[in-house]
Symmetry: C2
Subunit: 308 residues, 2 copies
């Protein structure tokens, strides 16, 4: 048994006017809860430090820049790293990253139990659009404010397990789980900010959107025999609702913990990494069963090509 | 609207002693039911003409050969093709194929509404093993009796839709749906013979096995914005139970029809191919969102390679 007690630290809404310091205070409160619950590792949402700013169209780059971090940790987040180290808890969270070269990414990091950053991921599948869209009920400008991640889907050895990360819309793409699965991933962590309403189909409904979120993560877990932890930023941000539905999924694709609210809420589960072994050595023993000669379109072709 | 009324013709058990003619008689009865129900297309299971013989270890090739068809249609199946043509119904079913060159495949075919075969698929992902396995509760010798399919995952234009096929264990592999999705598939048909018991983990239970079957098909449908029709051969074949659970899944990943029995049973749904359009042009618009530069492991690597 290789047990890791994992906390999914769902966060309620962050308003535009909220300071980083206030947000970090809430994250530290969740860390304290996690310590009391015996957690070894705590996963926070995508863009955990700020409101989900890609919903706002900003023409002025200086206005954009204020949502980005130029180093990590920094003065605002150092207290979070310090508390994690004090609690002997590894953490993962997302933030908007501006590099020294002036590049912009939607990023998440993973630490060990001493607060050292051991992994960094930059979101590959940016949803939405890059210019103001008059057809949508609201904007989703991730393709404007970020460039697609340039680090691929690496995995890291941490806490005697193989861990990987992805972010939000990445979770809907089976390629993401598979690339990590091919590296033996045992735990996939992800955060998300998912609007409760489809900006292009208002009638879709929250229930369907939660189902799609679950479906993406449960199938990714099952088909790669890995734990998946998906953590929402939820609730009403300046009039724009984000869905909750944070879950922990076991390597059989079953949801073993689920958030009940749209606020700051910790969900936990004692996750045995050895539960990954059965699937990885039987039905999903890739070496015995995969037939890559028939998968060529997946990497040779980006869009749809309908044969004649 | 491009509506196709689809019938999923689940079949109950076929015993070793049952003749092809008797089985075809049952298939024709299901076709007649489908005609009464207004069906345009009927999908039958994998290896629809015989018992699921890969559960039996056979050392004698002549004994193996009697489960295979050397042409299609043939004398036993011609009445099925004739009835389908008379009813103006396209059909798909699976059978064991021996080629003139003496090659063995687990195959399915698709006809148009006049009984002409317009598509052929050979199962790529063969589960199980090739030699007698003393560790298993029962045998699953697909890797012994078949070679992996050599046709890839083609799609066909049929009935004003883009259609593809896969078979049984193929449905658990997201690569299968994606390769067809990249060809614009709108309807994926598959049959299966899935034991109700995991031969390597008896405690797994039928409920979990049905969930995994559903999960594979619902996620494949959603992530590729396509209809999926999965049809079981079910029930007790000479003391070996096969699960039912035949379903029709819409392009949002919702189950819209489900078999209730483990016997011969027709499920139907009026499937509008135009329901595929929304997903294919928004969240799963592959050309805009896929990032193939980060998927290289999927085709360059068969088995797991854990990084240092």
């Amino acid at each position: 048994m290789r047990e890791i007690v994992i906390g999914g630290a769902q966060m309620g809404p962050i308003q535009k006017a909220d300071s980083r310091a206030a947000v970090v205070g809430r994250m530290i409160a969740l860390l304290d809860q996690a310590k009391d619950a015996g957690c070894d590792l705590v996963v926070f949402p995508e863009l955990a430090l700020t409101t989900f700013f890609p919903r706002w169209y900003m023409a002025d780059q200086a206005e954009v820049d204020r949502w980005f971090e130029t180093q990590m940790p920094n003065a605002d987040t150092q207290p979070l790293f310090d508390r994690a180290r004090a609690h002997d808890i590894a953490i993962s969270f997302g933030f908007a990253e501006k590099t020294p070269e002036g590049r912009y990414f939607n990023t998440s990091i993973l630490t060990d139990r001493t607060g050292n950053i051991v992994g960094k991921y930059r979101k590959v599948h940016l949803p939405g659009h890059s210019e103001f869209d008059t057809e949508r009920a609201f904007q989703h400008l991730e393709k404007r404010y970020f460039e697609p991640g340039d680090l691929g889907f690496p995995v890291w050895h941490n806490m005697d397990a193989v861990m990987g990360m992805c972010i939000c819309n990445d979770r809907r793409w089976p390629e993401v789980y598979r690339v990590m699965g091919l590296q033996g991933v045992e735990l996939i962590m992800l955060g998300y900010n998912t609007p409760s309403v489809n900006s292009q189909m208002g009638s879709e409904g929250l229930e369907q959107r939660l189902y799609h979120s679950d479906l993406s993560m449960t199938s990714g877990a099952y088909q790669n025999s890995a734990w998946v932890v998906g953590v929402a930023k939820a609730g009403d941000e300046d009039g724009h609702p984000l869905m909750g539905g944070s879950i922990i999924v076991d390597p059989n694709g079953f949801v073993v913990a689920r958030a009940q609210t749209e606020g700051d809420e910790l969900i936990t589960h004692a996750c045995d990494m050895d539960l990954c072994n059965f699937g990885k050595t039987t039905i999903f023993d890739f070496a015995r069963h995969r037939r890559v000669e028939h998968y060529t379109r997946i990497t040779s072709q980006t869009g749809v090509e309908v044969p004649d």
